[in-house]
């Protein structure tokens, strides 16, 4: 029999990564009597995007620069599809967030006057290898924060229109968890694993973005009818071939430029935005001038050693690759390629449609970090800032939410707890979750603009993808699980399929090509001013409605008007 455990809390945070942990810290500091509950699929010590460390703080307002300049940089990079209010309110808190990280124990490089040393216009230099243990240690200092590790949330509980808790299960034991909360913050990662990856075989997972980020945070909101924005602004990252390690450390750190196989620097031809850089390598290669590289040959050996260390602090596979192959950056240029597309609101504008205070369109539900839309270029400090803002809003709103009884929460969760039990007891069906995941990734790759088709798609293909993903989602309803590990995979597949359906509606909604490095809509291959707008969607009784909203440039405060 499946055991059922219950928790009653004030403030539930789903996802104990950067944004979620910081929201908990801020809420606990401001109200020591508030009960804060983090639920985390892994263990907050090393979970989420910071697991292996980070090499720099990439979002910081350096000496002499302003938050408005950060906004303009983000607007340029996103080809206008951003929310001023969200980017500015986040940028205003970058520096204080970084200082708080330093107080917690993060090493940040300083000059003789005690100022942080910048790397380029927006970055500061750190030793970020143990950044997540530092943040999780801070979380544990507060007695009013409870941490539930190794529990995956599959659904929000909703009483009438208001979100009042969540239901999930342990990843280690046959135990369901039913949580009643006055307010819920979704702070999970974005969605990886929607598309067939660069290496579909043994090395299918890559370090830079957690493969365990299955889009649960988006799927939770889609199911309760939360409005979503800009999923069609998929993220395709330019990365080092094979290890998929970040390239910024080489490009910014030692000034290496992108070159094609003929040795020509090509980047300016495609524009220097994130999309443009991703476009460059794809296009040069498809036109017969590949592979493409970062030109590192000639680098002196002392700098090479520093590169090795920098990568060990965030993507150790790359240093291992350099050393074991003997192909050092000073003697061999570093080959680059694009990743499969992701949906990730920390880099692009994809995610929940929120107000300036980080409220979603559903009562009682808030969003921060990778799942929150409209504010690209968050990186670490942006995720902290959004967790901070969301926590302050929850504290303000909490008085309006009365607690839901455990008995009521159990009743609302009953369908789901029964479903977990059914899947664990059912005999093995024809397919398992991994097989359906392969099928889903293949459909998305071929028909919805994955790597194998050069990120191109058309109306016909998107319609085919929609039908096929629908079939896979139906098959997923029948999946059984031999143990809780497999049960996790079943719900990850269901979440990914849910995100794919919404993504396809977004791709079909934006009938233009705005970010050619992230995807080319072959029927509409040019940018169209008519699409200087947000493409949003909402799930209404299982049907996805598309909503077009204006850009609101210059608007610094926005509230929902439903």
């Amino acid at each position: 029999m499946l055991r059922i455990e219950t928790i009653q809390t004030d403030f539930l945070i789903v996802g104990g990564g950067t944004a979620g942990c910081y929201a908990a810290i801020v809420a606990a500091r401001k109200d020591p009597k508030l009960r804060v509950q983090i639920v985390e699929k892994a263990n907050i010590k090393r979970s989420g995007c910071l697991a292996a460390g980070v090499n720099a703080i990439n979002a910081y307002i350096t000496e002499g620069r302003t938050t408005q300049q950060y906004l303009e940089y983000a607007r340029w990079d996103a080809e206008k599809i951003i929310r001023d209010d969200l980017v500015l309110s986040m940028a205003e808190r970058f520096n204080e967030s970084a200082r708080d990280l330093e107080r917690m124990g993060l090493v940040i490089l300083k000059d003789a006057n005690g100022n942080y040393v910048s790397r380029g216009k927006r970055n500061i230099k750190i030793n970020g290898e143990n950044i997540k243990p530092i943040i999780s240690r801070e979380v544990k200092k507060y007695d009013n924060i409870s941490i539930l590790n190794h529990v995956v949330v599959t659904n929000l509980l909703q009483d009438g229109d208001r979100v009042c808790g969540a239901v999930g299960f342990s990843t280690n034991y046959e135990t369901a968890w039913v949580i009643s909360a006055r307010a819920v913050l979704v702070a999970t990662g974005g969605a990886a694993g929607l598309y067939r990856p660069n290496n579909p075989g043994f090395s299918r997972h890559k370090m830079w973005y957690p493969p365990f980020n299955a889009g649960a945070g988006y799927a939770l909101g889609i199911r309760v009818g939360a409005e979503m924005t800009s999923f069609e602004m998929r993220f395709v990252a330019q990365r080092i071939k094979d290890t998929i390690a970040p390239t910024g450390t080489i490009a910014l750190g030692v000034g290496a430029r992108e070159v094609n196989a003929l040795g020509e620097a090509y980047a300016e031809r495609y524009g220097l935005t994130t999309s443009g850089r991703a476009r460059g390598a794809t296009k040069e290669t498809s036109e017969g001038r590949g592979p493409c590289y970062l030109k590192t040959v000639g680098l002196d050996s002392s700098r090479e050693e520093d590169l090795y260390k920098a990568y060990l602090n965030m993507a150790p596979a790359q240093t291992l690759k350099w050393i074991e192959s003997g192909e050092r950056p000073s003697t061999h240029n570093v080959e680059i390629e694009g990743t499969e597309p992701y949906v990730v609101g920390g880099h692009t504008a994809s995610g929940y449609w929120i107000d300036t205070a980080r409220r979603t369109t559903v009562a009682g539900l808030y969003a921060a970090g990778d799942v929150a839309g409209g504010a690209p270029k968050k990186f670490v400090t942006g995720a902290l800032a959004e967790g901070w803002i969301a926590a302050e809003t929850v504290l303000k709103d909490l008085a309006t939410y009365s607690p839901t009884s455990i008995a009521r929460a159990l009743e609302l969760a009953k369908d789901k707890t029964n479903e977990y039990e059914r899947r664990l007891r059912a005999p093995r069906g024809v397919y398992n979750a991994r097989e359906l995941e392969d099928a889903m990734q293949k459909v998305m790759d071929v028909y919805a603009g994955g790597i194998s088709v050069g990120y191109r798609y058309n109306e016909n293909q998107l319609a085919i993808a929609d039908e096929k993903i629908g079939l896979i989602a139906d098959l997923a309803e029948e999946l059984s699980a031999a143990d809780v590990d497999e049960l996790v995979r079943v719900y990850e597949l269901i979440d990914r399929a849910t995100v794919c359906k919404t993504l396809l509606a977004h791709l079909r909604g934006r009938k233009e090509t705005r970010w050619p490095g992230f995807g080319v809509f072959a029927d509409y291959p040019e940018k169209d001013d008519a699409f200087e707008c947000f493409v949003n969607t909402r799930n209404v009784n299982g049907k996805i409605q598309t909503i077009i909203r204006p850009l609101m440039e210059g608007v610094t405060y926005y509230e929902h008007t439903h």
Binding site: N127, N130, A317, I323
Partner: protein, 104 residues
């Protein structure tokens, strides 16, 4: 990328089991750690850093150009030593001081 766990060195403390962001490391009947799904590993090295007995080695899959090299991790106060061994080549050790910031 993935990891190998040496059962002779593993003392069954469970630190890696607890820390793995993918919940991929389990305990066998003797309480020792093993990687349940090697192709689900994403190479974050969290387990290497948590293991105080150097029981875990990190390697690259052959499909991403791995050549059979193994990387280990040792902590000595603020110093982290990454030790890379490959048959027929000299061992390379890179020491990173946690107190000093990245140059890039």
């Amino acid at each position: 990328m993935s990891i190998l766990i040496e059962s002779e060195r593993c003392v069954g403390c469970g630190s890696c089991v607890e820390a793995c962001p993918g919940n991929l490391i389990k305990r066998d009947a003797d309480g020792k750690a093993f990687l349940k799904a090697p192709d689900e590993c994403w190479g974050c090295a969290s387990c290497l850093k948590e293991c105080r007995f150097q029981a875990i080695s990190y390697y690259l899959g052959a499909d991403i150009g791995g050549r059979g090299g193994l990387m280990k991790y040792e902590r000595d106060g603020d110093l982290a030593r990454w030790i890379i061994r490959r048959a027929g080549r000299e061992t390379v050790t890179i020491t990173v001081d946690r107190r000093s910031s990245n140059k890039y």
